[in-house]
């Protein structure tokens, strides 16, 4: 070094003080099983220092052949598969699929069943948003938020278990109605836990929304404009966070959503922070819908009385020849759905949940293809994260709330 000190410093000299740090792009694998990856997604991240140059998400580790299995099941046997598409909000998936079948048949469920579906669906939407918010908090170091979210979710899942008999894989809806009615006293139980859920939501709100660390980590990260988001196929909270007012419940009210008084919160920036705040507000709106459902719900049957599509009551099965025949035909042949092709779409927790269903008039669906709301959003990950630090990958990935079941089918 002593010899060199006399020589004038040159930019090209790697040992000079002014020389640039040597840098080469580095490729890092995140996942498929990594503590910070939800589910099994592999991300091949190309890094320049700490800055992300490119992300290549690779999915399919959870692929279970939803479409192929559905094509080889009867119409009712598909139902349990739909639970497993989004295991945090199964009733929303059940409803989406069953509405498709009902659209093909031209069938209308009973009014009470419609209310029950909306009620169950909104409970599931809250659970889904709580899971998403809890996970964002958890991975940014706010473990308390996660515990609060889980406590609220547990309260709901206990009610769902009482209503459907299962916590997660409920398979609760039926063609023309739902499987079980509310048990006696259940609505009061639900009313009793709702204030606690809102209290917990407010706790999360006060812990995170104006938290300096949280805001610094999420604001301005993963920004996307409304037009671009539509181009990428965004729907649901991620699209509304960009300020685009599209919610299937308002744009094309299905079921009894037209009788509900609720608002669609909209974001302005389209960043991770907006996606978080919007989910928080949607929890409050879903809470309003649940209360209105409980108030408006009329008494009456929970499933239609048409034995071509709905199983007859057990009293009829054991007591009359028509009941036995209907039961036998439904179990052995499945319901016969008229030939046709429909695309049915509902508002899932993460966006528009679509089923493209083709029937050729037999007891099995000819083809079912799923539009999982997470798939287009996940495909935009390279766009969302480009240019940010590698540490920002996790909050952005959390905020799009990718669910492996529906994306990878």
């Amino acid at each position: 070094m002593t010899e060199r000190s006399n020589a004038p410093a040159q930019d090209t000299d790697p040992l000079s003080l002014d020389a640039e740090m040597p840098s080469a792009l580095m490729t890092v694998n995140l996942g498929p099983s990594h503590p910070a990856m939800h589910g099994t997604v592999r991300m091949t991240v190309t890094l320049d220092g700490e800055t992300i140059v490119h992300v290549d998400p690779e999915i399919g580790f959870l692929h279970r052949g939803f479409s192929k299995s559905s094509e080889n099941s009867t119409w009712h046997q598909v139902l349990p598969y739909t639970d497993r598409l989004n295991y945090v909000s199964p009733i929303l998936n059940n409803t989406g699929y069953i509405m498709g079948v009902e659209k093909l048949i031209g069938l209308k469920p009973t009014e009470r069943a419609e209310y029950l579906r909306v009620l169950g669906g909104e409970i599931c939407r809250i659970c889904d948003h709580l899971t998403c918010i809890g996970a964002i908090g958890l991975e940014l170091g706010a473990f308390t938020v996660f515990l609060y979210a889980m406590e609220a979710r547990e309260l709901f899942w206990d009610r769902i278990a009482e209503l459907c008999g299962a916590r997660v894989t409920v398979s609760w809806t039926r063609i023309g109605g739902v499987a079980t009615d509310m048990p006696p006293g259940w609505d009061q139980k639900l009313r009793d836990i709702l204030p606690r859920v809102i209290e917990l939501t407010n706790e999360i709100d006060t812990l995170l929304t104006r938290n300096r660390i949280f805001v610094d980590r999420t604001r301005g990260i993963g920004v996307i404009s409304g037009d671009e988001a539509i181009d990428w196929g965004f729907t649901g909270p991620c699209l509304r966070a960009c300020g685009v007012n599209y919610d299937v419940r308002k744009a094309h009210p299905y079921s009894v959503y037209d009788r509900m008084d609720f608002e669609i919160p909209l974001g302005t920036r389209g960043d991770t922070y907006d996606r978080y705040v919007l989910r928080l507000e949607e929890i409050r709106q879903s809470h309003r819908i649940i209360l209105q459902c409980l108030e408006q719900m009329p008494p009456g049957p929970i499933i239609i009385d048409d034995w071509r599509y709905a199983l007859p009551p057990k009293k009829e099965v054991f007591g009359s020849i028509e009941g036995v025949m209907a039961h036998f035909k439904l179990i052995m042949e499945g319901i016969q759905v008229p030939a046709g092709e429909v695309y049915v779409y509902t508002e899932g927790a993460n966006g528009e949940l679509g089923f493209h269903i083709v029937s050729n008039g037999t007891g099995k669906p000819y083809a079912i293809q799923l539009r999982g709301p997470g798939l287009p959003i996940l495909s935009a990950m390279p766009r969302l994260i480009q240019g940010h630090a590698v540490a920002d990958l996790i909050p952005v990935f959390d905020s799009i709330n990718m669910i492996g079941g529906e994306v990878e089918q």
Partner: protein, 220 residues
């Protein structure tokens, strides 16, 4: 509601539209394959249509669509045996691709459908129009084997690269198994070098006692 949309497409592209129908409120136009990009460009950019949201791209295989092929009305549990498929005369055009489009501003939807013959499954890619088409085309390619010409990165989306065939085609058997993928021959930090000469190409699970003689090519 969207019938006006179908009429508009018919008016703008009289030769391109080969058929249109409406079922349960879903409007469908079938167009010629060579006009796909032109029609889609119009549908996306024209202020009257403004179909900016591509919801989904689906492929459908019509091979067993006729009722007798699925044992129509018979017991639902009966599967169509493979030899039956070969005996029947092939259905042409066997496939179609459907694009579910939606307009957020105008609140109308349209399904664009392109028929494909089984000997020529090339479709022009629309990734230059809709960014979201990238993954949906990869998905459809993966499941049905349609070749989207002009797609920048047409590889499988859900299945793994070594997978042979396209699972959602109706002649792909439900219970078909594929051989396990051989472990790649590259050094591993923990386990040391890969199987190396002799062991290369044999899946790990088949190197265990009792499975040595299983030929990976016949393993299904």
């Amino acid at each position: 509601m969207s019938q006006a949309l179908v009429d508009l497409v018919r008016e703008k592209f009289p030769e391109a539209v080969t058929a249109s129908h409406s079922h349960r409120g879903d409007e469908v136009v079938t167009i010629r394959r060579e006009d796909l990009v032109a029609v889609m460009t119009f549908l996306r950019n024209d202020p009257q249509t403004d179909l900016k949201l591509l919801r989904q791209i689906v492929g459908i295989d019509l091979l067993t669509y006729k009722k007798e092929m699925t044992g129509g009305g018979a017991l639902a549990s009966i599967e169509v045996p493979e030899y039956d498929l070969q005996k029947k005369s092939p259905v042409e055009p066997r496939f179609y691709v459907a694009y579910n489009l939606y307009s957020i501003t105008r609140k109308h939807a349209l399904r664009v459908r392109v028929d494909l013959r089984s000997d020529d499954v090339k479709v022009p890619s629309i990734t230059s129009l809709y960014r979201t088409a990238d993954w949906w085309e990869r998905y459809t390619y993966d499941m049905f084997g349609f070749e989207f010409t002009g797609h920048p990165n047409l590889k499988r989306l859900l299945m793994y690269p070594e997978f042979v065939g396209h699972p959602l085609r109706k002649d792909y058997p439900v219970r078909k198994r594929q051989p396990l993928v051989p472990e790649l021959d590259f050094p591993d930090l923990i386990r040391g070098p890969g199987p190396g000469p002799g062991g290369a190409g044999v899946p790990m699970s088949q190197t265990h006692v009792g499975r040595k003689n299983v030929d990976p090519s016949t393993y299904d």
